[in-house]
């Protein structure tokens, strides 16, 4: 099973499921990362974390620890 934090830069993946609960999960979903959406991993910050992704046509940054909650295909 793959999670978003393991996806290398430059790849597009489809979100399968979100694990976890509470504010972080809600926030991730509020920002548009929901089941079935395409996420493009754009880059990693200079210090290795967080990552920047393109979702629903805009740029979003999230920490790798949080990206681990996002299961992808």
């Amino acid at each position: 099973m793959n999670t978003l934090n393991k996806i290398p830069c430059g790849k597009t993946v489809k979100v399968k499921k979100l694990t976890g609960e509470g504010p972080v999960k809600r926030r991730i979903m509020d920002m548009g990362i929901t089941k079935g959406v395409d996420v493009f991993v754009r880059k990693v910050a200079p210090l290795g974390d967080p990552i920047e992704v393109t979702v629903r046509g805009y740029e979003l940054s999230l920490r790798k620890a949080d990206a681990q909650m996002i299961e992808v295909e």
């Binding site: 504010p23 926030r27 979903m29 509020d30 910050a45 200079p46 967080p50 920047e52």
Partner: protein, 727 residues
């Protein structure tokens, strides 16, 4: 009839620009009751009876962030007559997510699709009739920056507000979800108004922990929640969020036509370089250097010197014409009317100097605020958080905390004010509390004095002072984020990186002015008052058996000296129980560089050099090196000067938090100095006493606070009553 229109939308959608364009200079900036979220209200240009309320920028109406709770409470509790929902046309999918929530409130909505000029340039088109039909509200195309369409949008909103018609949302979720929502809505009959039913039903289904306080009675919906979770095999909150985005995805195809595909925009090109894996840090360093160099080293210093030494000093030169300073003018005026000496001194050294202490910081601050406003508006500030997050989040700070701390190494006052750029409430408070630990410019003379007098000018004293400051920030961050006051609120770092764009001069200047004037208004009083009080304590006392005003050299008979000798024993465990030290530390509250001058007077010199070279011998004779270092550490970490305290008060906007911050700083300073002196003396001389044991225990306790486990909270703690009570 006067109407109220709420301006709602995502952060970075151009809401502030629109608000400024609609209201002009007719604005009132304040805070929402009980919280540190800024509240802006204004009157629509040309309509005295139309009030526009600028809600905080939000992505959703969830109960997890302060901004969202503030916006919700306003929308439900105050019920504006209409909502003007501003939507970023270049990022419409995510922006519509909030819109679907706003539609459910039962308040008429006008949607303003912003950045229409950018869309045209990209060749994209939004079909507003279709969008209007699918969302059940009027849609207007605008460009807040260029001013196109904003009048029409405002008029539509006013018209709708005056009609006072109930509205029903038209968007629909899947059949299964709608069925369950319907069931909950039925249970709400008689509890909430018809048109608000859907909003409350969904919030109840989402297990929203803050909605109960907005309702008279909370019906039990656990069976419906259970049903929904069984049908969709997910928690209800996620089900609803999914349903919203599914609906948006289903309509977006018919509402938006994209022009050219997959072309790199200018913003993408900039971002490729600016946050490039290898170039990001050097560029960041260069930007920070520029900000520091201009706002602290060069222009900032000139501005401060001009304000302090020129306008509030002896005078300054205006293209060769010498202009006398305010004190000089006031003095000659007072002399002319034959004012009594003591009153003259009060006015000059107390009041004028106090006002000067407030206003002296303003020019430098304005220079800094121009930079901050620019960095924020152009989109680079979000990248600062992106680049620095990894380092700062470990000790409970935001990546954006870097800027306040950098500026704080020049002067703590603008440093604290710079914390305004941090959105997250917890990160911001933590930054405000720790910024002044970094030695500011005014603390350098103290470092030079101690290094020169007791350490023979050793090279390591100054770097060690910075090291102490940084260590204090890191340790405080780790300790404080585990305390009840901070561990309370969740702070997910899921942040939008907005597209770069050029801010307008007007908006940058307006932001600069808002921040600058709020410092003068909110911080000014406390600075002025405390300066006057301390001036009185320093200049009045008992000489020749009678109470009266003293000469500057008679500081040792002042009220302050008396207070100093009473409180001095408190500092005995720190190694400097001499009243002179205590008095010097207290005068440091006016400005830290005063510490050196006070020593000069107390040791019998009317004037000393900046590093106090004249008194090195006397000082070295009165204390040990360890005690001197303890004194230095105390002055570095304890409550900052009055001006910085005023800035803390302004930014905390809450008396309890202000005292907590100042109290924490002073307590930390005391504990660290105690440990430095006691353990230092133990090592150097081998004496071990009760105080040494206490110091060792404190070190162990400190270690425990550093390593104890920590768990992030899942709910936002906010006093709903305080927020609602102060309407």
């Amino acid at each position: 009839m006067s109407v109220k229109i709420a301006l709602a939308g995502n952060p970075n959608c151009g809401k502030t620009t629109l608000f400024n364009a609609l209201t002009g200079s007719n604005q009132f900036v304040g805070n929402w009751p009980g919280v540190t979220v800024e509240k802006k209200e204004g009157k629509l240009k040309g309509h005295k009876d139309v009030v526009i309320m600028d809600l905080p920028g939000i992505y959703s109406l969830s109960p997890y962030t302060l901004e969202e709770v503030v916006a919700r409470n306003y929308l439900i509790g105050e019920r504006p007559d209409a909502i003007l929902n501003i939507v970023d046309g270049t990022n419409i999918e995510r922006n519509l997510y909030l819109s679907t929530q706003l539609m459910e409130l039962g308040i008429p909505v006008v949607m303003a699709v912003n950045m229409i000029d950018v869309l045209e340039k990209n060749g994209d088109r939004i079909h507003i009739q279709e969008l209007s039909k699918k969302l059940g509200c009027e849609v207007v195309e605008i460009s807040a920056l260029k001013g196109t369409g904003i009048k029409k949008a405002a008029e539509k909103a006013v018209g709708l507000a005056r009609q006072n018609k109930a509205v029903v949302p038209v968007h629909e979720f899947s059949k299964e979800a709608e069925l369950i929502i319907k069931k909950v809505e039925e249970k709400l009959t008689g509890i909430v108004e018809e048109q608000q039913k859907r909003f409350f039903a969904i919030k109840l289904l989402e297990r929203d922990d803050k909605i109960g306080s907005q309702m008279e009675r909370v019906p039990d919906v656990s069976t419906e929640i259970q049903e929904m979770e069984n049908v969709f095999d997910d928690d209800t909150e996620s089900v609803i969020t999914n349903e919203r985005y599914t609906y948006i995805s289903s309509i977006i195809g018919s509402c938006v036509t994209k022009g050219s595909k997959e072309k790199l925009t200018t913003s993408d090109k900039i971002d490729r370089i600016v946050t490039n894996r290898w170039l990001a840090l050097p560029i960041f360093a260069a930007v920070m250097f520029l900000v520091y160099y201009v706002s602290v080293t060069t222009v900032g210093t000139w501005a401060t010197d001009w304000a302090n030494d020129g306008v509030f000093g002896d005078g300054w030169s205006f293209f060769g014409i010498s202009v006398p300073g305010v004190p000089v003018l006031v003095e000659s005026a007072l002399n002319a009317i034959g004012c009594a000496d003591w009153l003259q001194a009060l006015i000059l050294d107390g009041i004028v100097a106090g006002v000067g202490a407030v206003l002296g910081f303003v020019p430098q601050m304005l220079v800094l605020f121009v930079f901050l406003a620019f960095l924020e508006a152009c989109g680079y500030m979000a990248r600062v958080a992106f680049i620095m997050d990894r380092i700062f989040r470990k000790f409970g700070l935001s990546g954006k905390s870097f800027i306040p701390m950098l500026i704080g190494s020049g002067c703590g006052v603008p440093g604290i004010m710079a914390s305004r750029t941090i959105e997250n409430d917890r990160d911001r408070k933590m930054t405000i509390m720790t910024t002044t630990f970094i030695p500011c410019g005014a603390k350098l003379p103290i470092i030079a004095l101690i290094a020169g007098a007791l350490f023979d000018g050793a090279w390591w004293v100054a770097p060690s002072a910075y090291f102490v400051g940084i260590a204090a920030i890191i340790c405080s961050g780790i300790i404080l984020k585990k305390t009840k006051m901070f561990a309370g609120d969740p702070a997910p770092f899921v942040m939008e990186l907005p597209a770069y764009h050029m801010p307008t001069v007007g908006n940058v200047l307006r932001s600069m002015w808002e921040r600058g004037s709020s410092f003068i208004k909110k911080a000014g009083t406390i600075i002025l008052l405390s300066t006057i009080v301390l001036w009185f304590l320093m200049n009045f006392g008992w000489s020749d058996g009678s109470f009266g005003m003293l000469e500057a050299e008679q500081l040792d008979s002042s009220i302050l000296a008396k207070i100093g000798s009473v409180i001095a024993p408190v500092f005995t465990p720190l190694g400097w129980g001499d009243w002179k030290m205590a008095v010097a530390a207290v005068t440091g509250l006016i400005a830290k560089e005063n510490v050196v001058g006070t020593f000069g007077i107390l040791f019998g010199f009317a004037e000393v050099a900046e590093d106090g070279a004249e008194i090195w011998g006397a000082l070295a004779g009165s204390m040990t090196a360890v005690a001197a270092y303890s004194f230095l550490v105390f002055n570095l970490l304890c409550a900052p000067c009055f001006a910085a305290m005023g800035a803390i008060k302004r930014e905390m906007n809450n008396a309890k938090w202000f005292w907590f911050a100042v109290g924490y700083q002073t307590l930390l300073a005391y504990v660290v100095s105690l440990c430095v002196y006691q353990i230092g003396t133990w090592i150097t001389t081998g004496t071990f006493g009760i105080a040494t044991a206490v110091a060792c225990l404190l070190v162990i306790g400190f270690m425990y606070l550093l390593v104890r486990p920590y768990k992030e909270s899942k709910t936002l703690h906010v006093n709903m009553k305080a927020m609602a009570g102060a309407k």
